[in-house]
């Protein structure tokens, strides 16, 4: 049904989005937890920075990444020389761009979910002698799971469709950084590419719609919104 080239594009997109989520999810959860539970200096700033990729033009985010994480960028050179991780014009860079762009979408539902947790449960567990890690694993994470899942799915869909930051940061290299949206852009440059573009467009619409519907379905089961937990 799909050609080898299309399978490469879709496979690469899924790899990029999956890697982006694997790294971004824990970081986003920690950020959401900090924003929901702790009062600390710079909390407002953290909140603003977390929202930034959502309000900045993607080209700006991509350009900042290019300056910092490019082959000559300071952060890029540091990571390459210390842990051997290279972002510049690699699929890992596409994952970085996707993760950064999806980050605000991850944090928001997680934070709402975390704020909805009854603090009494955590306090009760504490009086019964549970440590902080145990409380986190047995109470906080399970109760926040709808938010984690909703954010994860929405973030995954966003990561899958990211365009502006990706093409600006890691270019449009076939097999390496040419993800779904970049492939569609490339096909649309050519008058003979309409039909092929349409196939990829249909695929991404189905994927995005499915993700949003799944996310909505889970959101409706958030303890704060429904009474699903009591049933």
């Amino acid at each position: 049904m799909l050609t080898t080239e299309e399978l490469t594009i879709i496979g690469l997109s899924l790899k990029v989005a999956a890697a982006a989520m694997a790294v971004a999810l824990p970081v986003a959860f920690f950020t959401a937890y900090a924003l929901a539970n702790w009062r600390f200096p710079g909390r407002g700033l953290l909140q603003a920075v977390t929202t930034l990729p959502l309000v900045l033009p993607p080209v700006v985010t991509g350009y900042i990444l290019l300056i910092w994480f490019g082959a000559n960028g300071s952060a890029g050179a540091f990571l390459r020389d210390t842990i051997g991780l290279e972002f510049a014009f690699r699929w890992t860079g596409a994952a970085l761009a996707a993760g950064v762009m999806a980050f605000p979408l991850l944090v928001r539902p997680m934070r709402l979910s975390l704020e909805a947790i009854d603090r009494g449960l955590e306090e009760a567990a504490e009086t019964l002698g549970a440590g902080r890690l145990r409380i986190l694993v047995t109470i906080v994470v399970p109760l926040a799971m709808p938010g984690i899942l909703a954010g994860g799915i929405l973030g995954f869909a966003k990561a899958l469709g990211e365009f502006g930051a990706t093409i600006t940061f890691v270019s449009n290299i076939p097999g390496e950084t040419r993800t779904l949206s970049l492939a569609i852009y490339s096909l649309l440059q050519s008058p003979s590419g309409d039909a092929a573009a349409l196939r990829l467009i249909s695929f991404s619409v189905v994927l995005a719609l499915g993700s949003v519907l799944l996310s909505e379905w889970i959101s409706a089961r958030l303890p704060a919104n429904g009474k699903a937990r009591d049933e």
Partner: protein, 259 residues
């Protein structure tokens, strides 16, 4: 990291072999492909023609070519930031000059003009005077930041009609969008490149701007460090008869301005 060193070593080797062999002996027997596909950065408006040329090159040499397409400005900045591209094909000479100023260490050869383009008015009506063609709603690329729009505005100013027709203009993000507005009949005419006009057989060229009325629209190519023998061979092919024939097929003018 070893990948980079290996690539550099291969590039050095290619340069050495290139220096030993005379350029005219660049046949398929002597051409050593790199360990990765030759990475070419090309302006988005060249997508079709470069893919066609790369396919011909690969067929002749068995060296694979990977093409990354985006705006010339984005690609130039990425080259400055260390992108592993071996050849840069820009839609205008401005970004090549910018690269020469900002990333001279990446450039390994003088820029070469590959092709030229010109502006035309397309639509479904009959050819007419420029002022009449643009007397109703027409589409053109945004003169604030899109090169095609800047050229069009300069040409209309030179013809002395800009102030009369500017209020009829719909400015688009890129020139292809102006073309599709005309194709769908949302506007009666559009100012586009001659190469774009060929893509929509349903539209006729109603007016050709005089080249003297706007700056030369030049597509320039520049060889980058690490291009090796393969990159040089691909550029030679583009500038040579075979590449020029492909460019002409897609409506580009020769570097001297002849069709």
């Amino acid at each position: 990291m070893t990948g980079i060193f290996a690539r550099r070593a291969v590039a050095m080797l290619a340069l050495l072999t290139g220096a030993l062999l005379s350029p005219s002996t660049g046949s398929s027997e002597t051409l050593k492909c790199g360990d990765r596909p030759l990475l070419v950065f090309a302006a988005a408006s060249l997508t079709d023609v470069i893919e066609a040329a790369a396919a011909a090159f690969t067929a002749a040499t068995e060296c694979p070519v990977a093409i990354s397409v985006a705006g010339s400005s984005v690609l130039a900045r990425q080259i400055e930031a260390g992108a592993p591209a071996t050849l840069f094909l820009s839609a205008n000479s401005e970004w090549v000059t910018w690269l020469e100023t900002n990333a001279a260490e990446r450039i390994s050869g003088p820029p070469r003009v590959l092709a030229r383009n010109r502006l035309v008015v397309v639509g479904r009506a009959d050819p007419a005077e420029i002022a009449d063609l643009l007397s109703t709603r027409f589409a053109m690329a945004d003169p604030a930041h899109v090169p095609a729009g800047m050229y069009a505005k300069t040409a209309l100013e030179a013809l002395g009609v800009w102030t009369d027709v500017a209020s009829n203009a719909i400015f688009t993000e890129n020139v292809r969008l102006a073309l599709s507005l005309a194709e769908r009949g949302d506007v009666s005419t559009a100012i586009v490149y001659a190469t774009d006009a060929r893509m929509e057989p349903g539209l006729n060229v109603l007016y050709r701007f005089d080249d003297a009325n706007y700056p030369e629209i030049r597509y320039e190519a520049v060889l980058l460090t690490g291009a090796g023998e393969t990159g040089g061979a691909f550029l030679d092919m583009l500038a040579g008869p075979e590449g020029q024939e492909i460019l002409a097929k897609y409506g580009f003018l020769a570097p001297d301005g002849t069709p």
